[in-house]
């Protein structure tokens, strides 16, 4: 069992004793070690389509200060690799996610933490950084080594600086968007090599606690898999005069429905993860499993075993939901068999609350010359309208014609109240389009813009250019009206999944929706042409020039054939005689 963080350890005490030779006089004290705290939780939510949604969250809180010249040298629960990254690159907030698959909002509802397909990285730097672009480049290289991902492909051609979206999620008083950078890599593959270093960042690794369930063979055999790391400064207490650093590692996964047909569906921890739980992580102060039973409070449709009497209610995604809670720090949860295998039997119901905000995007047009990007945003609220902020980052090789940009709702023109457009520069930066649009109630808003495809230089094509080129997802940030009054008191003890986005007002909550990434075919040249041209040219030159050269410089001489043997002997005899040869 690890020592309690509140007490000074023996290491501290001996250091105080032996300090007589130190150059600076040490004010003796039992300066307490910065307190750190680790919590883990798992939320399981059966979805209306029959799939099951599991969301892991691991949070480490650390009361320390990486900035202002402090050299942090003793790491306990907070991973050292990330701590060094934060202090070296003066990072204020870091959010990175790796996702495989696309979240289907209409079938699955809203996720607790949205993420786009591929890799997404957005970082707020401290205002002490002078060269943000250089620091950003170094940071992406370092992160590519930590997470075994090809994040070094993030450069100025796919980095944007949003002017209104992606406000900091942690505390802070200044928001100058010069210090924000956002980039996505929609083509990035997520596999075990990304999960392995992610698991290594956890205090208990994958050996104890909820992380034992994270086996790659089951996690990647799913419809949706997303793992993320979020680092931000948060308030330490309700007064909020000091900050602590929060590291959240989240993993969202949606498992497929394997057995089609009617009847009861059955899910268990062993069936989902091929493991059961035997203990909580010893370093965790809280380790809980929540099962969403809101759709069935009477217990008719659901059956959860082993049964539990702990219930909790939480305000999440604008709705009040009820959860059965399993506390893994209590030995009684594991029962006599010392292992916990939750079993859920339920009947899928037909009706699901329609998600209030939903978005789609597709490419229209034909041919390899021009095209059109259509983004559709659905507001499914019956009588309330709300504003959304649309962020589009389009690579430079799709030349957007912004004069063809139209925003229509219900057939009529809907003028955005704020537009920020930064045009692209070939091979330097992408297009950035940000718009604040008010979505009328119960409507579809369509944003269209025409584009033309550019011809790349032949070295800029990927080794498999016929696959196509990806355009990153659009990000739609909005304040959606909530069904119940949200809790703005941020200090009450809340489950982790409901306390990610800070809540400022009671009537609405903040949400982000990502659209699909687009796959666009660019006109692809025939890559064997340089070889063909070289062969042909060399042949023509060799045959043409060679023949001409020979004709001009060759001289002809008449040569007698060599005589036969008899003639040669006769010539020798004649030479001896002094007579001219034959």
């Amino acid at each position: 069992p690890a020592p309690k963080p509140n007490q000074p350890t023996s290491f501290e005490a001996t250091a105080d004793k032996e300090d007589t030779s130190a150059p600076e006089t040490v004010v003796q004290s039992s300066v307490p070690q910065p307190k750190d705290d680790f919590q883990e939780e798992l939320v399981i939510r059966p979805l209306h389509s029959g799939d099951i949604y599991a969301s892991f969250q691991f949070r480490t809180l650390w009361e320390t200060d990486f900035m202002r010249g402090n050299k942090v040298s003793h790491y306990r629960l907070f991973p050292k690799s990330l701590g060094q990254v934060i202090s070296k690159f003066s990072v204020r907030e870091l959010h990175i996610s790796f996702t495989q698959g696309y979240w289907r909002t209409m079938q699955w509802g809203q996720p607790f933490l949205p993420s786009p397909p591929g890799a997404e990285l957005w970082v707020w730097f401290q205002d002490s950084v002078t060269d943000v672009d250089g620091t950003w480049k170094e940071l992406t290289n370092v992160l590519s080594g930590i997470f075994c991902a090809s994040l070094n492909f993030i450069d100025s051609t796919n980095t944007v600086q949003p002017s209104a979206s992606f406000k900091p999620l942690g505390i802070g008083n200044v928001t100058d968007h010069r210090f924000l950078r956002y980039a996505t890599l929609p083509r990035e593959i997520v596999c075990t090599e990304n999960l392995t270093p992610w698991k290594k960042l956890l205090p208990c690794g994958s050996k104890a606690g909820l992380a034992v369930l994270l086996k790659s063979e089951k996690l990647f055999h799913s419809s949706f898999h997303s793992q993320a790391v979020h680092i931000r400064p948060v308030c330490q207490d309700w007064q909020c005069k000091t900050t602590s650093w929060e590291l959240r590692q989240t993993l969202n996964v949606v498992f497929d429905l394997h057995t089609p047909g009617q009847g009861k569906l059955e899910w268990s921890l062993f069936k989902m993860f091929s493991r059961t739980l035997t203990e909580a992580c010893p370093l965790a102060s809280s380790s809980k499993i929540y099962i969403d039973i809101t759709d069935d409070p009477q217990g008719e449709q659901f059956e959860v075993s082993p049964a539990t009497h702990l219930l909790s209610q939480a305000m999440v995604l604008g709705d009040r939901r009820t959860f059965s809670v399993y506390d893994l720090t209590q030995q009684i949860t594991f029962g006599t068999v010392r292992s916990l295998n939750l079993l859920i039997r339920w009947k899928s119901s037909e009706d699901m609350l329609r998600p209030l905000l939903h978005a789609e995007r597709y490419v229209a047009g034909y041919g390899l010359q021009t095209g059109e990007i259509h983004t559709l945003m659905y507001n499914n609220h019956p009588y309330r309208s709300f504003p959304v902020l649309l962020l589009d980052s389009v690579p430079w090789y799709l030349r957007l014609y912004i004069h063809t940009l139209t925003v229509t709702s219900k057939g009529k023109d809907n003028k955005p109240s704020y537009i920020h457009y930064q045009p692209s520069k070939d091979r330097v930066r992408p297009h950035l389009l940000e718009m604040l649009v008010q979505l009328p109630p119960n409507s579809v808003t369509e944003v269209t813009v025409q584009f033309e495809r550019a011809l790349l230089k032949w070295t800029e094509y990927t080794p498999d250019p016929n696959h196509g080129f990806y355009v990153g997802s659009s990000v739609i940030s909005s304040l959606v009206p909530s069904i119940v009054a949200m809790d703005t008191n941020s200090t009450r003890e809340q489950p982790l999944f409901s306390s990610f986005f800070p809540c400022k007002e009671e009537s609405s909550y903040f949400m982000r929706v990502y659209t699909e990434p687009l796959l666009v075919n660019l006109p692809t040249p025939d890559f064997s042409m340089p070889y063909n041209v070289i062969c042909l040219t060399c042949t023509v030159v060799a045959v043409g020039y060679g023949s001409l050269y020979n004709l001009l410089t060759r001289s002809f001489q008449i040569e007698e054939p060599s005589p036969g043997l008899a003639k040669r002997i006769a010539n020798i005899i004649r030479k001896m005689r002094g007579v001219p040869p034959l």
Binding site: S73, V142, T242
Partner: protein, 383 residues
């Protein structure tokens, strides 16, 4: 008399065993290397080249099992087979049919993947000429006491190896890269294994010392694949690497098998092609080089009786005072979508544009000057 003979026998026995011990100790230090590195490269893309990824991963697995840690392995895979959408069992790569052995494992760390596997990156890793912000896991940080294992697999031809179907590396480039490594003292001994068609052509041009090379086929021969799996639908391994993996499964970290056993792997009867090897540049006798000199990492431990003084820890002295000063300031969370603030936000004009009408006025001025100097009779030619 009997005591004398007994004593003399004992003395000779002791001297013989001590000579044995000294021989063993001598062999322990004869290889001259202190650390091991491995660079494992798969150069092929696309699903039907599954077997090249399986080749590389099986060598990776053996090398990890025999002791080389992930921090000393640079693994380059040009495409992702495990999480490919065509893979019926995601997060697995199998080397034997009927899915017996998953070489992908649960704790794999791929350093270069996808489009990053290029000839330039491969040569930069070998020679160490990487940009300063490259992370440690992507660097080959070897020194002059390192034994390096380099394994390449993919599609090749006479004198070249194809990278991702778009570029090639030639045997001359490879030989020059190894010479650069030798000049910069980046290796002690290097074992080069290549499993491609006509692989022997790749080591023909080597000229640096302390290189040993193995190839799966001679010039003019093709290396063949081993067996397909009907569930996955592609060939799982190449023959040479399949038998190499079988051979390596029998090696354990303290094994005394030497390089001559490695040369015998996969004779023509099993491989259909003739594997080749080259040892003329290797200064030691191949029979004295152990397999674990390259594939394993037997760490040499030195026991010392000295005491080492630890440096003083850094004292956080001033922190209390700083905290008190800062306590006056209250922090708060930022509003995520401040609509009114956004609407009144004016985007900053970074680029300076000339005032409106400036260009028009400039052209008018130019035309006026022109007509003034050359007269109005030219007007009819312009308009």
């Amino acid at each position: 008399m009997k005591i004398l003979t007994l004593l003399s026998l004992l003395a000779t026995h002791l001297s013989a065993s001590s000579v044995n011990i000294e021989e063993n100790a001598g062999q322990f230090f004869s290889s001259g290397h202190t650390n091991n590195w491995a660079v494992l490269v798969c150069t092929s893309r696309f699903w039907f080249n599954y077997r090249h990824v399986a080749n590389t991963l099986s060598v990776y697995r053996s090398v990890k099992r025999l002791g080389i840690p992930d921090s000393h392995i640079v693994l380059m895979l040009a495409d992702d087979m495990a999480c490919n959408h065509r893979n019926p069992k995601p997060a697995t790569v199998f080397s034997h049919k009927n899915m017996e052995l998953n070489v992908y494992g649960d704790d794999v760390e791929v350093d270069y993947r996808g489009y990053e596997v290029t000839v330039e990156n491969f040569l930069r890793v070998l020679t160490g000429r990487l940009p300063p912000s490259t992370p440690r896991s992507k660097r080959l940080l070897s020194d002059d006491r390192s034994n390096i294992l380099i394994y390449l697999t993919g599609h090749g031809g006479n004198g070249f190896l194809k990278f991702q179907d778009s570029e090639e590396i030639s045997n001359v480039e490879l030989a020059d890269a190894f010479e650069q490594m030798w000049q910069k003292r980046r290796y002690n001994e290097l074992l080069f294994i290549i499993d491609t068609c006509q692989g022997a052509s790749m080591y023909e041009r080597f000229y640096s010392p302390n290189l040993m090379a193995l190839a799966s086929s001679q010039v003019g021969e093709d290396s063949l694949s081993h067996q397909p799996d009907l569930a996955i639908g592609v060939h799982l391994m190449d023959r040479y690497t399949f038998y190499l993996l079988e051979f390596l499964e029998d090696i354990h970290p303290s094994s005394k098998a030497n390089m001559n056993d490695l040369f015998k792997v996969c004779p023509k009867s099993q491989c259909v092609s003739t594997p080749g090897h080259r040892t003329d540049l290797f200064l030691r006798d191949p029979g004295s080089a152990l397999i674990t000199d390259f594939f394993g990492s037997v760490r040499k431990v030195e026991i010392t009786m000295e005491t080492i003084n630890l440096t003083e820890p850094i004292q956080q002295v001033e922190q209390n005072f700083v905290n008190e000063e800062r306590q006056k300031e209250t922090y708060s969370y930022v509003d995520q979508l401040p609509v009114s603030e956004i609407i009144h936000q004016k985007p900053k004009q970074k680029d300076w544009h000339p005032p409106d009408g400036f260009i028009l006025g400039l052209w008018t001025l130019i035309l006026l000057v022109f007509f003034k100097t050359y007269g109005m009779k030219h007007l009819k030619h312009i308009f």
